[in-house]
């Protein structure tokens, strides 16, 4: 029997949306107040959904301790209380929440092997959220 597991994490970070290859006017018209030179912050809520066959012995898709320790080491320690623009992941791309979602997906996809990664969902504010499932459609 296959089951899905979604686990929710919180982290806080700042970013500035700015593309060096755009003029000052184009940056302003594209990003509006998100282009403020000193940046601004969000409390991000991250949901990671994994799936897999239930282990008959444990009754679990994967051990939450494994997922938590992976996410803590590879995601939270990397992004929490950071300025995203200063991180190597965003030296050549703008740290929009679209790009951050894809970046987190790639890290989990590459490094977490206890279950199949279904998707990443990232809430930037109470009103906006983003979902990414790699080459798969988020909604089938």
């Amino acid at each position: 029997m296959k089951a899905h597991l979604t686990r929710r994490y919180m982290f806080s970070a700042s970013h500035r949306l700015h593309n060096d290859s755009m003029s000052a006017e184009e940056n302003q018209s594209t990003y509006g107040k998100c282009n403020n030179p000193y940046g601004h912050g969000h409390n991000y809520a991250l949901e990671i959904t994994v799936s897999g066959a239930l282990d008959e012995r444990t009754g679990m898709v994967c051990n939450l301790v494994d997922l938590d320790s992976f996410v803590d080491r590879e995601i939270l320690q990397r992004f929490d209380i950071q300025n995203l623009n200063m991180l190597p992941e965003f030296t050549s791309q703008v740290p929009t929440t679209e790009n951050l979602s894809a970046c987190i997906y790639e890290i989990v996809q590459r490094g977490f092997d206890h279950a199949h990664l279904e998707k990443v969902r990232l809430e930037e504010t109470m009103m906006n959220s983003f979902e990414y499932a790699g080459s798969e459609e988020v909604r089938k």
């Binding site: 509006g32 929009t96 906006n128 988020v138």
Partner: protein, 120 residues
Amino acid sequence: MVYLTRKAEFSASHYYHNPDFTPEENRRIFGKCNNPNGHGHNYTLEVTVKGEVDPRSGFVVDLKQLKEILNREVLDALDHRFLNKEVPDFFARIPTTENLHLAAARPQAESRTIASRANL
């Protein structure tokens, strides 16, 4: 492909009544929602669009434009309205929340220019 979901909130009143039903049928099927003076809800609407991320801007869609369209086409039309009396979509259709979905989706579909790249 990234999916972006934007929430919007609005408040409106409505009542459920089908003139083809007898008063007894209306009461039996719709219960207290058939009260002709109406009642209200706070609605939370989520609109999801999807598209490839523009490599230059890092955006799947210009959120400012999406917000403007939601404000103009959905919130201005529905917020603080009595749906049965003030919203043409519901002059001849019962304003169930099922039908409200369809009314909210229609103007968006006509506003595809928001999104030459993103799909509702």
